[in-house]
């Protein structure tokens, strides 16, 4: 479905506002949404454009202007709602419910069908260690603990070179 304001970009978000006591909504693209929101109302509705042919109104959640932020990447929930984009894989867990309500509007079901990556086991372990350390690194950097950060960086470098050796071994 195309954005109902510019009729150019695909609509990703359903925007609702209260006008004269009545709620009106439009399916918008991210650009038009941010233009709309320059005159803020205190409550906005998070939902998504859903082709009318699939029947029924799009699922909607009313979200108080939320200050929630992903602890890993710092992306605000509000921004996720506006753009239908997330900042990292942890956003999917952090904003689970809200994201699912957007996904319901965009896709058939919330159950993946299709291929899965086949990763070598020892590489998988190293990758998940790296993942943990990178998350830690971000949070100590935010806390401005540079000593810790330096230590973590060294550990990450060590793991990275271990990863390269392991990969080489699988050739």
């Amino acid at each position: 479905m195309l954005c109902q304001r510019c009729h150019k970009n695909p609509a990703t978000v359903r925007y609702a506002e209260v006008v004269d006591g009545k709620s009106v909504h439009q399916d918008l693209c991210a650009e038009c949404l941010s233009r709309c929101k320059q005159d803020l109302s205190s409550v906005f509705t998070l939902g998504t454009a859903k082709p009318a042919v699939r029947g029924g109104p799009a699922p909607q959640r009313t979200v108080r202007r939320s200050r929630r932020v992903c602890p890993v990447c710092g992306t605000a929930l509000e921004r996720v709602a506006e753009t239908a984009e997330v900042g990292c894989s942890a956003c999917y867990t952090e904003f689970g419910q809200e994201i699912e309500s957007v996904l319901e509007g965009l896709h058939r079901t919330l159950r993946h069908q299709g291929k899965a990556p086949r990763l070598d086991n020892s590489i998988a372990r190293l990758c998940s260690d790296l993942q943990t350390k990178r998350v830690l690194l971000r949070s100590v950097l935010r806390a401005e603990d540079y000593e810790q950060a330096a230590r973590l960086r060294d550990e990450i470098r060590g793991l990275e070179s271990g990863l390269r050796l392991t990969e080489a071994g699988t050739d």
Binding site: P10, C88, R108, Q113, G114, E160, R164
Partner: protein, 393 residues
């Protein structure tokens, strides 16, 4: 730059033997993937972007991609080079202007590419001429398997591949076909056709042209709109004059704003539908719409074959005679010629020749491939020359 990008080379997909190349120009399969241990590119600092790029290049090396292609890092590319990769349908629009430390792997045949640090860490794109989604998918899938064995991709049992756009999560796959639908459009039936397939999770968009949406006009010096462009295009950045792509396969607009009778058929759903089902649905819808185009052609021929022949003959006369040719007008000419040739009303034209002319008429192709100056007037002169050479009797 022109040599590194092989600007003079015709991409392999243009010569394909897939069926129905009058209507279906090219099929794209695009796969978005992310490494599990980094935030998505938009939230990464330089240090992380470097690490992601290094990990990606290391994996490309291991699965032997550099035997048949090379990596173009943003540090060594200017706006023109980026636009060229966009015009070749390999680099998507947001790659053209992203933050530093990004790049594109381009296979020698120019029918396969991998974007690094664009919307997602890794985006694979395979192209195949005509209606050939299966061919494009097979190549993208093989490289994806190779990379997946070396790189920890972000994946969940329930949501599949995690992508930066919620609209891509699941398979991370966009399968699309670029269609030329002049007859359906002349009969005013594009919206109806789009409505008929929408419930299957497949959308028919118009292809946006002439610089819509992209903004990097800084390296273009001219300020007057090139001759031949429709007025709305004159408001856009004057230099772009090309068809860019997005993860969908083209920059999409409403069907009524399509340029050159070009449309993109693409899956909208990526979660809850398998890759096979997506390919089947898009492929099936493409065949259906192509058959409708055929029926519409027959109807137009019955109503007035002379009118179509007249359009094609006039287009040919302009193509052979023009001294200044804007991109918008070039698209219209190519469309009239393609329709005429498909119906046997214009001789000596193959779909390959017309598709090649469409690629070559774009701005950075004219500059890098033919040495044109980059101001609008020089482009119009060079484009007219290209058409006189291509279509001379």
């Amino acid at each position: 730059m022109a040599e590194e990008l092989q600007a003079g080379r015709v991409p392999d997909w243009v010569g394909g033997t897939a069926p129905d190349q009058w209507t279906a120009l090219v099929s794209h399969c695009t796969l978005a993937r992310n490494l599990s241990d980094f935030a998505f590119p938009s939230r990464c600092g330089e240090e992380e972007r470097h690490a992601i790029e290094a990990r990606a290049l290391d994996a490309f090396e291991r699965i032997n991609l550099f035997g048949s292609g090379r990596y173009h890092a943003s540090a060594h590319m200017d706006g023109l080079a980026w636009q060229f990769l966009g015009e070749r349908r390999i680099a998507s629009r947001e790659m053209l202007q992203g933050p530093p430390i990004r790049g594109v792997y381009l296979a020698d045949g120019q029918d396969f590419g991998i974007m690094v640090n664009g919307s997602d860490h890794i985006v694979l794109r395979a192209l195949a001429g005509g209606m050939a989604l299966r061919d494009a998918w097979t190549r993208a899938n093989t490289v994806d398997d190779g990379l997946a064995s070396l790189l920890g991709f972000a994946w969940q049992e329930r949501l599949g591949y995690l992508t930066s756009r919620l609209g891509m999560v699941g398979t991370g796959l966009r399968a699309s076909v670029l269609l030329h639908l002049p007859a359906i459009n002349l009969l005013g039936a594009v919206e109806d056709a789009a409505a008929r397939i929408r419930h299957r999770g497949v959308e028919l968009f118009g292809v946006a042209g002439a610089g819509y949406g992209a903004t990097d006009a800084s390296f273009w010096s001219g300020d007057a709109p090139p001759p031949g462009l429709p007025p709305e295009a004159a408001n856009e950045a004057p230099g772009l004059q090309c068809l860019l792509t997005d993860l969908e396969g083209a920059v999409c607009t409403a069907p009524k704003s399509a340029v050159g009778n070009l449309y993109l058929l693409v899956n909208q759903e990526t979660l809850g539908v398998s890759e096979e089902e997506i390919l089947f649905r898009v492929g099936h819808a493409a065949v259906e719409i192509s058959q409708e185009e055929e029926r519409s052609c027959a109807l137009l021929m019955k109503r007035g074959a002379l009118d179509i022949e007249d359009r094609a003959a006039r287009a040919m006369a302009v193509a052979r005679g023009a001294r200044l040719l804007g991109f918008g007008e070039a698209l219209e000419l190519l469309s009239a010629l393609r329709l005429g040739a498909a119906l046997g009303l214009a001789r000596g034209l193959s779909p390959h020749k017309l598709t090649e002319a469409l690629l070559s008429a774009q701005a950075s192709h004219l500059v890098l491939g033919r040495g044109a100056g980059s101001d609008p007037r020089s482009l119009a002169i060079e484009r007219a020359k290209l058409f006189r050479e291509t279509f001379s009797a």
